[in-house]
Symmetry: none
Subunit: 339 residues, 3 copies
């Protein structure tokens, strides 16, 4: 029988790895998100493997739903996390995977079950990722197992329909800004400073801050002109205050000026000591990034002009224009000197 | 002579590495931020090495300023980026490092200078990172070199003083919300989807999305209670729509409910196709995360109660309370069944 | 009996994960270094777990040596790499771990054994990382197993002593070299050791070092033959000295030998304690990597012959040729034995 060979081909999978400093907070507790990511990797492997054990289109298992998950015990840096996954139910178009997570202290030998999760996958055809293909059935130990699985399937189906209709509102946007205005492209990101971002002595490498600043500036530029954009230059950046481990940094960018072929974006970095609250939030760095827009052959494209609203934006635009003209003049002088 | 041995000990340094898919945008152009991070790593190594070539406190070189930097040519995935750094000036308390970046196509052999940067470092004592120590002097080829360096030093000093006084305003906050309100802890991050976030077929792994959701929820929880917080549970999550490569995702979180020992945070994921604009921004996922606060011995701490403002927040709090009581009842039933 | 419970406690471990774009080169072939890092993670987990199955000091297993490893087939992005490790011999102070690596295409279901590796670990006390503790013995299936293990142990011990004395000089660039010479392709990178590179006790994971070595060797090979190159094998690597957190490591590679279809690259790892300068720079690891060049259909291409300059290079070429012929003879003998 076919389903027997399927069951043999995809019985279970085990993923494990040592928890590193970047997987955890400064106290050493592993982030829940690290565990959720491991759980999903195990589920994706076993789901994709199972749905390809038949003739027909090749496919990939896409996550459709995760059931409620409890984190029973915290995990720590240096422990090994084991995630073992098995397929527990299949409907015509979906696969249920159950994953157990165990923490192992390889020094003391202590083991604990820290999580149990149930995930639902849907196989998408590789020829056409909008097409859902059929799932080969698994074989159950008995009719009770199949019956219980069917109940879980019906329950999650109902819940998915319900939440699809309930539509949460977007949090931050009050009114939608018009394209090409400053408000339209302005962006900000927050980043929790992790161990790999820091020197051995617990403050953020300047290079890490600059990388985040460039990331935000790039998103602002791409939102403005919807093309392939690259960094053309960065104005002098001063690092007035150190940023310490355990801070959250908010990096915000807004467009200040556009010439025919370039955009200037002002970027702010604010540090917020999450735990040492008495220190308060402070402005750590600011800088101006210049971006250009490129076509397929890496040739510069024209940039849509920035629409200003209000005096403030107009003033910043004029200041940006002054910087632009000054740099242009300087480049010309430098060229002449070299000749 | 001491300065001779210094000059020999820290003449220059070269960093190189292959540019990977995660270093670049979807077109294959390496992010300016990747290059800036490499430049700073080279500067930090040579600066730290130089400032430790003397007796006295051990120290680490902290970035104080980067001069204006131009990106002359784009770099591509698969090329090797070389950053070579040398110390070009020292004042009593600071070090100037000049870095040249070269791109090398190791297949065709083509090489291009893509960047030149000048960075200023200040040595901080490892005993007390708020103390700046003295810099051992370097030896110059001639008096003109020293004179030119001194001019650069004076110019940057002036500019640093000026920008310190000019204080950019914070972008997003209109009025500062009161502690323990929803507005106080609410947070959002944006993330540009990179190749490592995606399946081979170009859409984001569910696990990557869940990790970002947990990161935002954790920042909301930490901002609310200023302690060590850990994920206790995640409610069912439905993934209604795929997120594609090249999207920017905005992940936003707000606190909806607090019990004596737990906090519930609602998290939204919105996807914004940066280039295929006609598709528009859409809500991809929503979920509820529950966090608890722990003391040094991993025991639960009381959570400060959430202050509601307005009917909307009150309504969400009641809904959160209903979910909390329902889960509590379910846990009790499950326990009884197991006995 | 104690050894029985050990055997039960540490039978084997399986690590697996999906290969991502950053694990591979631009053609999609997974870097040998990615595989070496996974192999070492599996070895470190099972070694540490085993050495703690007794009373006395808690300890961590530190990598002392990797036996010669062949890469039988290239692996690709999207495939799942499985590394399974088991302990096959214990002496008083060391543990032998054998690791098999399997590639699985979860879409087609195809599986291939891609590597077999043998690693030697030494347990270091957590109280004092310079103290080596005793290893609990394992139970063997029969006296032949134990005898064969003892022979492998004696052979590697001898080889470790020999390579400890052999001292490679540090590589330096003199003038712009001609194509196909040793000087033309020789390369080096430096890496500042960060927290995620290290064990909980502050020294670099062996796998991290091997990944960097493979990266440099790959750059040397690509510069020489300007094509898609992959790791074919790694000669035995001895880890003579630990590398600590806060070091800068310089990894240098130079080509020593070419046959018609392969290149041998010698790689050196030098550690430089950036802050504790009095300790001085030291040679931590050396090894030989063999690379082959592949066309679009993953078939081997001819390799341009290496041009030698001077007696030193000629001597190293002859030594490389001897190693090449010895390995070729060994492969033939192994094949005949299996028939």
């Amino acid at each position: 029988m076919m389903s027997v060979s399927n069951a043999q081909a995809t019985p279970s999978i085990q993923i494990c790895r040592i928890m590193r400093p970047d997987d955890a907070n400064i106290i050493g507790n592993v982030h829940g998100g690290t565990i959720l990511k491991m759980i999903e990797e195990a589920g994706c492997i076993i789901g994709t493997r199972h749905c390809n054990t038949q003739h027909g289109d090749r496919c990939v298992a896409a996550l459709a739903r995760v059931e409620r998950t409890d984190f029973l015990y915290p995990m720590f840096i240096g422990e090994v996390a084991h995630a073992s996954a098995e397929i527990t139910y299949t409907s015509k178009h979906s696969v249920e995977v159950q994953v157990n997570v165990l923490s192992e202290n390889i020094v003391t030998g202590a083991k604990k079950v820290t999580n149990k999760a149930a995930l639902w996958y849907v196989p998408l055809s590789l020829q056409n990722v909008d097409k859902i293909i059929e799932v080969p059935p698994i074989e159950y130990c008995g009719p009770e197992q199949e019956e219980a699985g069917k109940k879980r399937y019906e329950a999650q189906k109902l819940d998915r329909l319900e939440t699809k209709e309930r539509n949460g509102e977007v949090i931050t946007h009050v009114s939608l800004p018009e394209p090409y205005t400053v408000g339209f492209s302005q962006s900000s990101l927050i980043h929790l400073v992790g161990p790999s971002d820091c020197t051995l002595h617990g403050f953020v490498h300047g290079g890490v801050t600059m990388k985040l600043m460039d990331e935000v500036a790039g998103i602002v530029a791409a939102r403005h002109c919807k093309t392939n954009i690259v960094t053309a230059s960065v104005d002098a950046i001063n690092f007035h205050r150190k940023i310490k481990k355990g801070c959250v940094i908010t990096v915000s960018g807004r467009m200040t000026f556009t010439s025919n072929k370039s955009m200037e974006i002002e970027v702010f970095v604010d540090a917020d000591p999450l735990v040492e609250v008495e220190k308060g939030k402070y402005r750590a760095v600011t800088a101006f990034f210049t971006y250009i827009s490129l076509d397929k052959d890496s040739k510069p494209l024209p940039v849509p002009p920035l629409k200003m609203e209000g005096e403030e934006e107009q003033k910043r635009f004029e200041e940006g224009k002054a910087r632009y003209l000054q740099n242009k003049a300087k480049r010309l002088t430098d060229k002449e000197r070299q000749q």
